[in-house]
């Protein structure tokens, strides 16, 4: 293994550990020594990878957005219908919420709740563009093929992602009577019915 590969792996493990701690303990309650301690590395060395807690927080949102974007890209690259793709995207999102809850929790409870941390460097959609771009591609394909109704991007985006985010938030609050995957079929159908041409 080359040094650069080793460093990349270390970088990713820091991102994942910090993501978990931020998502569970909260951003402000988590310190850099907490993260370093969990990774059994020195605080000084961690700063070699990320120069501040804010920058680490910003890199995490890019990391989660790209990781989700890559999965949606695989769906976009298939010949499936828009209806099928909606089902697959909902499945990806809810599966991630179940298997890697920290990913979505981070988005909802750190990124959306601590805007001051992201105001310089993660303005607007900059740090979530990996994910947003794939949603745009999905909408563009859906309208081009005639399956989805042409409308303003944000009215469609808000309906789709607001809905999914809301459900995962409810899951995090432990108010959902059923497991999250129970809702995949109905929610996919609702989204499709709302967006179809």
């Amino acid at each position: 293994m080359k040094i650069s590969e080793k460093k990349a792996l270390k970088r990713e493990s820091i991102l994942q550990t910090a993501l978990q701690l931020f998502a569970t303990q909260g951003f402000h309650k988590t310190t850099i020594p907490d993260i370093a301690g969990k990774l059994k590395m020195s605080v000084g060395n961690l700063y070699n990878y990320f120069s501040s807690k804010d920058i680490l927080a910003q890199e995490i949102i890019k990391y989660t957005s790209e990781s989700l974007g890559e999965k949606i890209r695989e769906v976009n690259d298939t010949d499936a219908s828009a209806e099928e793709k909606i089902h697959q995207i909902v499945t990806i999102y809810f599966t991630m919420a179940k298997e890697k809850p920290e990913m979505i929790e981070y988005f909802l409870r750190v990124y959306l709740s601590n805007r001051e941390v992201f105001s310089d460097g993660c303005e607007g959609m900059i740090c979530v563009s990996g994910f947003i771009t794939e949603i745009m591609v999905f909408f563009d394909d859906g309208v081009s093929s005639g399956e989805l109704r042409n409308q303003d991007f944000f009215s469609a985006f808000g309906l789709f992602m607001g809905y999914l985010g809301g459900m995962v938030f409810l899951k995090g609050e432990e108010v959902l009577p059923q497991e999250i995957e129970f809702y995949i079929d109905d929610i996919s159908r609702n989204i499709y019915n709302a967006l179809k041409a």
Binding site: E123, G124, T133, V143, N150
Partner: protein, 295 residues
């Protein structure tokens, strides 16, 4: 040394390219390099009667207008036969305008029968093979007079005109109309033009501008040596493209706000990623009137 003999023939045309060329500030000094055998509106050495008899000389043949193999006659003679007669003899053939090159506006009348001389939209016509070695395409509706003078002067100076696969000179069509547009900063920062007549804003997002994917040098070689469509606030209609004419020229087709056609050669994901980033910023200078910003 004798001058190359220039013959300008028309098929189904509105005379747009003829008239555009008359706007060339150095028209007569350019024509002075040639012996003008026949021209639709300028004084020339031979009559049209002599032209259709097939008896006049021709080195450089300029063709204007869409083509139909049968049914378009002048003085009782099929125009296509007159053109092919001289096309065989010419050393260079220049199709001027989108009609002569790809079919253009007049193709719309009978799309199955009418085409350009050597191309039918982007497909090669049956006569392409015979004339390909001496063919230069100058699409545009109309062409800029300097595009034609560039080619004519290259020919008369014995220089090779580099061309692309549709036989367009790369010196003229290697550019997009977008390149050189004074609204480029607004394109970069995704700021729409808010109304007609404004200097501020890009016409690509809402007003139908096709400049980012249209080949041509309209913003490099300015019209009337002064300006261009996009500079004055009219969207580019894509008039040099094989697909010209399109409809709804003042509206950008979008899918949920995303332009249905991307700038030339730009992958959709690259474009969308950049859009997401630039739209995240509001730059004060681009939200104000140009002439009032520093006041």
């Amino acid at each position: 040394m004798s001058k190359p003999k220039l013959l300008w023939l028309q098929s189904i045309t509105c005379n747009g390219n003829t008239h555009s060329f008359l706007n060339h500030p150095e028209l007569f000094s350019i024509l002075a390099h040639f012996e003008l055998i026949h021209h639709p509106v300028l004084e020339s050495d031979y009559s049209f009667q002599e032209v259709i008899e097939g008896s006049v000389p021709c080195d450089v043949l300029i063709l204007e207008g869409s083509f139909v193999q049968e049914g378009f006659l002048k003085a009782g003679v099929e125009v296509s036969s007159v053109i092919e007669h001289y096309a065989k003899r010419a050393k260079d053939i220049i199709t001027v305008g989108t009609c002569a090159t790809f079919g253009g506006i007049f193709k719309q009348k009978e799309p199955d029968k009418i085409s350009g001389f050597a191309f039918d939209i982007e497909e090669k016509t049956a006569r392409y093979k015979e004339y390909a070695s001496k063919l230069i395409s100058l699409p545009g509706c109309p062409i800029h007079p300097r595009w034609l003078s560039f080619v004519l002067l290259m020919i008369t100076n014995g220089k090779k005109v580099e061309i692309d696969e549709l036989h367009r000179p790369v010196e003229l069509y290697g550019y997009t109309v977008h390149m050189g547009c004074t609204r480029n900063e607004y394109f970069e920062w995704k700021v729409d033009v808010k109304n007609f007549g404004l200097k501020e804003g890009c016409l690509f997002y809402e007003q139908g501008c096709q400049a980012p994917y249209t080949r041509g040098s309209c913003n490099k070689i300015l019209w009337n040596d002064t300006s261009s469509k996009t500079r004055v606030g009219t969207p580019c209609f894509g008039c040099t493209e094989p697909s010209f004419p399109k409809t709804s020229l003042f509206t950008t087709k979008t899918n949920m706000g995303i332009p249905a056609k991307m700038p030339l050669g730009v992958p959709r994901r690259a474009y969308l990623t950049l859009t997401g980033v630039t739209k995240s910023f509001k730059i004060k200078r681009f939200s104000e009137r140009l002439l009032e910003y520093d006041k």
